[in-house]
């Protein structure tokens, strides 16, 4: 059997899997972005209670492993009567986990906005919310975008774990196909290449563009 | 490739210069930095290069230290080619091994000292002797301590560079270079990065070297007074060429070239 005929026979499964991976990617990215911003900001708040909660969240999700979190959500939550479907569990675990990493990025980026900017917005007597939204966050976003590019790739790679709880993503399809055809090089190799191409030729260029756009908006280019 | 057949395999005769630049050229892309440079330096001579920024002064030193490749011509050190090696009766560009052997007679001090930050002053001075010359730890230590004594840094021998002032670091750097027992020492603006009040401690060390050691020295400096004091000869560089060279008294008090005059009066005005 040639690789071409292998692809024409099984190609659709790779496509199906890649689509699921794509949806998982976007759902978990959105979740991670929201979590990152909420917890990143809360970590900087002066209210010690919410602040400690945010720090605990971040330390917890960064300190335990994603796979452990995924299995916990999948096998343990139902015991408490909370049953989520596989798909939801998958991107929830990935988003919660990567969101914790993102929160650190947000925190760092906001802290890196020069003091002068804070002082200038005091001088304009902007309200704290306005100051954050109009002055600080736009600058922070520009600084942290490159790091988010890396995080997005980590996130794409992390979605491969959801195949382990039977979400039919790319990794899952490759594994199933391997179990039925025993053509390991082709099945896993094809999946690896699809991940690689997505990371290197879709996500990276998109993030670069976004960085350029932000830089231009900030008058840095 | 350049025809090297007209260049001698080694220099012979009664007065072999310690360093000879023979038709040396260097360019970066379009920019010609050295344009057919010819310069001889006799044994034990102290030659100073002065000139405007970008005239190629540093490049001359860096080529002699083999930090830059040569664009044309040949450099000889102690009668033997430095940048090239003889092969089947002709000169060919030197390979890494030949270069390494050939440059062992040259030492250099840099504007920004470039001491090894993770080693103490003493370790900095022992590194080359132990690793390259194969001296025993004891011999290397004796040599290093003697040199640190000479540059007045023996008290600080166990300090890391980050704990030393600029002038102190530069003196250690001089000791480090001397520990390799070079025949030719190169100084590239060694006082430019220093605070005015510590320049003296470094120039005094260099001044000592001219009297106490049989060393050939080539120095780039912006300190005209110092150059005049200690040099045997001063070369004024302009646009990658030697515009004028003479004894310091002659060159400073009686410059012939228009450009030299302009440069010197501009420097004087700035002081």
């Amino acid at each position: 059997m040639s690789y071409i005929s292998f692809l024409s026979e099984h190609g659709s499964r790779f496509i199906d899997g890649a689509l699921i991976t794509g949806v998982q990617f976007f759902c978990s990215l959105a979740l991670a972005a929201v979590i990152a911003h909420v917890f990143g900001l809360v970590m900087l708040s002066s209210n010690t209670v919410v602040k400690s909660f945010a720090i605990a969240y971040v330390e917890f999700f960064r300190g335990t492993s994603l796979l452990v979190q995924l299995f916990w959500l999948f096998y343990v939550l139902p015991l408490f009567g909370i049953t989520l479907n596989n798909f939801l569990t998958g991107f929830l675990a990935v988003g919660l986990n990567l969101g914790a990493y993102g929160a650190e990025l947000v925190r760092g980026a906001i802290l890196s906005v020069p003091r002068g900017q804070w002082e200038a917005s005091y001088a304009l007597s902007l309200s704290p919310a306005k100051r954050m939204r109009r002055i600080i966050i736009p600058q922070a976003i520009a600084t942290m975008l490159p790091a988010w590019g890396n995080l997005a790739i980590e996130l794409l790679k992390s979605t491969a774990l959801v195949g382990l709880i039977a979400v039919p993503d790319l990794m899952f399809q490759a594994r199933e196909l391997n179990n039925s055809t025993y053509l390991s090089t082709w099945t896993f190799g094809t999946a690896l290449i699809i991940y690689y191409v997505s990371a290197r030729f879709l996500i990276t260029p998109c993030m670069r563009r976004l960085e350029k756009i932000m830089a231009r908006r900030m008058g840095r280019a | 490739m350049e025809d090297l057949t007209s260049y001698p395999l080694e220099l012979t005769g009664p007065d072999i210069p310690m360093v000879r630049f023979l038709n040396v050229r260097k360019s970066y892309g379009e920019l010609i930095v050295l344009d057919n440079l010819n310069l001889d330096i006799s044994p034990n001579e102290m030659v100073t290069i002065i000139g405007p920024s970008g005239s190629g002064k540093t490049t001359v030193l860096r080529m002699l230290m083999t930090l830059e490749t040569i664009g044309g011509g040949v450099i000889y050190v102690d009668g033997k080619p430095l940048t090239h090696m003889p092969k089947n009766g002709a000169l060919v560009p030197a390979d890494a091994r030949y270069l390494r052997k050939a440059r062992s007679s040259i030492g250099m001090c840099f504007q920004h000292f470039n001491l090894f930050p993770h080693m103490t002053a003493l370790q900095n001075c022992m590194e080359g002797p132990v690793q390259v010359l194969g001296l025993s730890g004891r011999e290397a230590r004796e040599r290093a301590e003697e040199l640190l004594m000479m540059v007045g840094m023996i008290d600080k021998k166990d300090q890391h560079p980050s704990r030393l002032s600029g002038g102190q670091q530069q003196r250690v750097a001089i000791a480090r270079a001397l520990a390799m027992r070079p025949k030719v020492m190169l100084f590239d603006e060694v006082t430019s990065a220093l605070d005015p009040e510590v320049i003296g401690e470094v120039t005094n060390v260099i001044r000592d070297l001219t009297t106490r050691h049989s060393l050939t020295m080539l120095m780039v400096t912006h300190q005209m007074g110092f150059a005049r004091d200690i040099s045997d000869r001063v070369c004024f560089f302009f646009g990658g060429k030697i515009e004028e060279q003479d004894s310091p008294d002659e060159l400073f008090s009686n410059p012939k070239s228009k450009r030299t005059q302009q440069f010197l009066s501009a420097v004087k005005a700035a002081d």
Binding site: S65, W72, Y75, I153 | M65, R100, N114
Partner: protein, 221 residues
């Protein structure tokens, strides 16, 4: 569902025993990664353009594809070519190579952060290339890399649960086995999470301490 302390006490020794395997897997994987990563980094600094290019691309590929898939690939592809690797060997190769790619970037950053003047000083006292790296460049490149290297040590530890997918007997595998035998997942997965949390938090603070110590020791404060 109630937490069962008796069951916890019963399975805890087994879990702790498996933790030793997890630590061993992380340790071995890290040593492989540290050595191969250095080779990757140095290979990218040689004047041989094609070698540099190939290594660069390999590193990019490894970094942009999921570890879980790489583990499957290494484990299942060998037998296709008559090379049967045990789960441990396959797992160590996969995780070692994966993190070698990351560590090579850390080393590269460290080496590139060394000012050019240091190389020139090496030439001026006539050190060989090998001596320059060994005596001057790497000792300076390593302290600033320690934070990065330490983070990857913690990461590799947190990724070891993935080795369970090919049957390496580490903590996750033990939890799966215990859970499957007793139809109780709450305790085993929670224990895994707690063990991971304790070890990675301890490791992270130990690494911070170590970094400070090595900087002081090299007089680079």
């Amino acid at each position: 569902m109630q937490w069962d302390w008796e069951f916890t006490a019963e399975i805890l020794p087994k879990m702790l025993w498996a933790t030793v395997n997890t630590l061993m897997a992380a340790g071995i994987g890290y040593v492989i990664a540290a050595v191969i990563g250095l080779l990757f980094a140095l290979a990218q600094r040689t004047p041989f353009r094609s070698l540099t290019f190939i290594v660069r691309e390999v590193v990019e590929f490894i970094r942009s594809t999921p570890l879980i898939l790489q583990i499957f690939f290494v484990y299942y592809v060998g037998p296709e070519y008559g090379l049967w690797l045990s789960p441990w060997v396959a797992g160590m190769i996969a995780i070692g190579l994966h993190y070698a790619a990351y560590l090579s970037e850390v080393y590269r950053g460290g080496i590139e952060s060394i000012p050019k003047g240091q190389w020139e000083a090496c030439t001026a006292i006539n050190l060989t290339m090998a001596q320059s790296y060994r005596r001057i460049i790497l000792p300076q490149a390593i302290p600033p890399s320690i934070a990065g290297m330490g983070n990857y040590l913690v990461s590799i530890f947190k990724d070891t649960p993935m080795l369970s997918v090919i049957g390496v007997e580490e903590l996750m595998q033990a939890a799966n086995a215990v859970g499957g035998q007793n139809y109780r997942y709450l305790e085993p997965y929670t224990i895994v999470g707690v063990i991971f949390l304790i070890i990675s938090l301890t490791a992270a603070s130990a690494i911070r301490g170590f970094e400070g110590w090595i900087r002081r020791k090299l007089g680079m404060e």
